[in-house]
Amino acid sequence: MSNRFLNSVTIVTIGLSILIVSSFALFFMNTNALLDFWRKGIRVLVYLEPQATEANRLDLRYQIQQMENVQEIHFISKETALKRLKDQMRNHSSLLENLKDNPLPDAFEIRIIDTSRELTNVAALAEKIKSLSQVEEVEYGQHWVARFSHIINIFRFIGYAMGGLFLFATLFIIANTIRLVLYSRKEEIEIMRLVGSNDRFIKTPFYIEGLILSALGGIVGLTALFAAYRFVLSKFHSSLSLGLLEIKFLSIEQYFLFIGGSMLVGWVGCYLSLKQFLKN
């Protein structure tokens, strides 16, 4: 088998592994950004009992304002709420025309400090507010945010597992390719030893070769990822972006991190096969 063919196969297989691992990374990066974007939109709505008085309202406002993680609090009277509802349902205004009483409750809208948007913090705050008197209900879109987070966590777990699997696959591929190269040059290595070469002198070119192959494999994989990213972006941009969120590619740091990771795996692959080969 010629070295050129072996090298090409190695670069392509490393490229494929890197493509798969980096695709997962890109997917998580963007879903995390999406989740974060949604989290930023979280408002806690506190609905008041219908019999709550002006004094109760002021007291509640004061108590909530004193709580940790609360950035801003707005009062939305039931009249404002109805007006907003009517605005939103302008096309179906007939549905609300015959209302005698305003069925909506008074409410507070609370914005949370940026750093406290973890779901558990929001849940704890909601629980605390709910225990106050004159509070009927507290809502923050808990159900769908929790469900989405759960799905992302499952994906993340699968991603780690797949990443780990492909890491080992890459390691195995590199180790075996180097082993094949070593076997194809067995006689040459034996001659080098006979003329007084030490192991380091013999190993160095293989390490350099392994590092170059894995770096090239990494570049091939990430280039393929970029091409796929551009393709997806051009085809599905409008439906995926939700008009607000941009689908991002790896940053330059992440790009080099992947190349570096690929080279590290290449180095370890070389190390393993050289250690075994030179022992024999």
């Binding site: 006689e187 040459e188 001659i191 080098m192 030893r193 006979l194 003329v195 007084g196 070469s197 030490n198 192991d199 002198f201 030179l278 022992k279």
Partner: protein, 223 residues
């Protein structure tokens, strides 16, 4: 006493078995500094095996071998290069690397020792002149005749200025002229101070020699 002091290679009761088959049995001998020794005997007598033990190409089953103060039984595979840098080895099948040029094949010995490129250039050119191959430095081994390949192999063996030259049937595949050429080169380097161990079954080379001849037969020394 003086002779014992200058013994460069000491072999004590060395035996080598391949499975249950003995290749060498109870060999003991001493080779002195700047000696030229022929090892002769029919094929399978153990000449090549004995030389292989000396450059750690094979391990011996029992006995002791000392070369220039180094105990071969105690040299690990990763430290074999320390011994091999004292040796220049010539093989019947030349063992040149086909993908490297004549120059690169010879330079390899010096590169492995960490020598600078300028000095390597100088030394390789000089040895190529000595063996009469200066105009073939860019040729690849497979483009050379057998005699030329053996000259290159010889140049590679001596370029590192080894104390000991081990020549394992170096003329076995060559015609009479080429064989004589190699023999003359070995004689030249012997005169310059190298100790030469020459394994051959070619009786014409040893007919009129004044050097020591060690006969081997079925793995035993013949006195």
């Amino acid at each position: 006493m003086k002779i014992v002091d200058t013994a460069l290679i000491r072999i004590f009761n060395v035996s080598k078995h391949y499975g249950s088959k003995p290749a060498l049995s109870q060999i003991s001998l001493e080779i002195f500094k700047n000696e030229f020794v022929f090892f002769t005997g029919p094929s399978g007598a153990g000449k090549s095996t004995l030389l292989k033990l000396l450059y750690l190409g094979e391990s011996f089953t029992e006995g002791q071998v000392l070369i220039d103060g180094m105990n071969l039984a105690r040299i690990s595979k990763s430290r074999a290069h320390i011994l091999r840098r004292k040796l220049g080895i010539i093989f019947q099948d030349y063992k040149l690397i086909p993908g490297k040029t004549v120059f690169q094949n010879i330079a390899l010995v010096l590169e492995a020792r960490g020598m600078g490129q300028r000095l390597i250039q100088k030394k390789v050119q000089s040895i190529l002149r000595t063996v009469g191959m200066e105009d073939r430095s860019r040729a690849f081994p497979l483009g050379l005749s057998g005699g030329e390949q053996q000259k290159v192999a010889f140049a590679r063996a001596v370029v590192g200025e080894p104390k000991i030259i081990l020549a394992d049937e170096p003329t076995g595949s060559l015609d009479a002229d080429a064989a004589e050429n190699i023999f003359d080169l070995l004689t030249t380097f012997h005169k310059r101070g190298a100790t030469v161990l020459f394994a051959t079954h070619d009786t014409s080379l040893i007919r009129n020699t004044r050097h020591r001849i060690i006969h081997l037969k079925q793995g035993h020394l013949q006195v």
